[in-house]
Amino acid sequence: MIGLSLGRVVALMARYWYVLKGSIPRLLDIAYWPTVQMVVWGFMSVYLREQSGLISGAFGILLAAVLLWDVLFRGQLGLALCFLEDVWSRNLANLFVSPLRPAEMGLAMIGMSLVRTLIGVVPASVLAIWFFGFSVYSLGLALVGFFFTLIMFGWAIGLAVAGLILRWGAGAENLAWGVMFAIMPLAAVYYPVAVLPGWLQPIAWAMPPAYAFEGMRAVLIGHHVDAGLMVRGLALDALYLALGFLAFVRCFELARRRGLILQQGE
């Protein structure tokens, strides 16, 4: 058994980074939507502060929610887009006849997703301080926990989406943009899980985002860190991430059996 190679992971990350650094429009696009979302929800918060006791008591609750939602969404999208870059450029066969392993490809896409997410979310979070006087960094160390709870789930879904694209071809690429919005109603981004009908609540608690967003509200409204929520969220993440890797590797093996790798991009 030959082990995984950090050198190959870094090599593939460099491939994705070269695409980004060579295109100012792409870099701006990554930061654009999180910033627009932050501005819209910031003004909404300003308006609701006058109308709502909840918002006046915890002004940043919507802004923190939208920024953390972007961590989840951008984490998943960033990973899936890395994979799509190689589908679109018909490069997958070159990669998979090299010593690169599917798991190394998964790790490289995860690394690049982290970079893309930070490029997208950090400028928006800084602008939120400037525009609305709200710092998401006031969540303190708990923010690190929320960030990883969310982005790890994004990676898990992104890996599964990449596997499905490998299985179904570019026809499945709309999943990269849409899949997270199917999960959003159950993620408890803007409202507590308790708002959901009773039969939906177990489904919401079966996914890590609910733990992060409930934990965020505990900090901003209750002014305490619920470590139990964070631990359960991260434990679920480990499970989902393992399943995401498994789905990606299984789809790769299926593609090898069905001859799908050489057909990608056609």
Partner: protein
């Protein structure tokens, strides 16, 4: 591995899709340091065979061993000693040629990569395009860049799918000279699929004639031409494509 011992051993290889055998029980060996050509019309099974030799495709039955390793199960052990080029597989368009070669050099664990890239740029006359995006090159330049990627790790086994497709005669001849030089200099084993019969006559030690997933004839190009009583491999190819065996072809050639 000693000279003339097989670098590639293909045994009873079958690839079935639904009810169709894309490759139907083929067997052959490629001696180390030799050039073997897979010939056949569209859909004959050449690309499917190459994909199984690379481990990109798992055979339905049979086996491919490259440098002693089973490609269905042990491909990770040997992929670093092989490489591949095809006009149907591209390099990332937005990366420059240099960036592409850096990425693949690192994936193959090439030491002293800067020097290797420069050496390839010199050999393949790529200096002027090293810092241009790969997607903005002419067909001839793209072929040379694809060859640079295929040679980045100085492979012992080189698999080429139509290496001179869509090239003008001058560039095609230049590529063939390069491959001859690489085979001699490196002692490499080359397997190529081609529709260019003159190319095969010039480069190949043996030709495998494929039709409907099977090898219907094989041998050194000169021997095949003689056996069919023809003057070129292209005529042999047409005899096989049109179901004319040795006897019919020989009679027709004599008349």
């Amino acid at each position: 591995m000693s000279l003339q011992s097989p670098a590639i051993v293909v045994a009873d290889l079958v690839k079935r899709y639904d009810q169709v055998n894309a490759v139907d029980g083929i067997s052959f060996t490629v001696p180390s340091g030799s050039v073997t050509a897979l010939l056949g019309g569209n859909g004959a099974g050449k690309t499917t065979t190459i994909a199984m030799m690379l481990g990109l495709l798992v055979p339905t039955s049979g086996s491919v061993r490259v440098l002693g390793h089973d490609m269905a199960r042990q491909r990770a052990r040997v992929l670093g000693r092989m490489n591949f080029s095809s006009p149907y597989v591209d390099l990332p368009h937005r990366l420059t040629v240099r960036e592409n070669l850096k990425v693949f050099g690192r994936l193959y664990g090439v030491r002293d990569l800067g020097r290797r890239i420069q050496a390839l740029a010199d050999t393949l006359e790529l200096d002027a395009v090293l810092d241009r995006p790969a997607g903005k090159l002419s067909a001839g330049q793209k072929t040379r860049v694809a060859l640079a990627k295929a040679l980045i790790n100085e492979p012992e086994v080189l698999l080429l799918d139509e290496p001179t497709a869509s090239l003008d005669p001058d560039t095609g001849d230049w590529v063939r000279s390069l491959l001859e030089g690489y085979r001699k200099g490196r002692g490499a084993t080359i397997l190529l699929a081609s529709h260019n019969m003159a190319e095969v006559e010039r480069l190949a030690d043996q030709a495998l004639m494929m039709k409907q997933g099977r090898i219907v004839d094989r041998g050194p190009p000169a021997a095949l031409i003689a056996a069919y009583g023809r003057t070129s491999l292209e005529e042999v190819f047409l005899d096989i494509a049109r179901n004319r065996g040795y006897a019919a072809a020989t009679v027709e050639a004599a008349s």
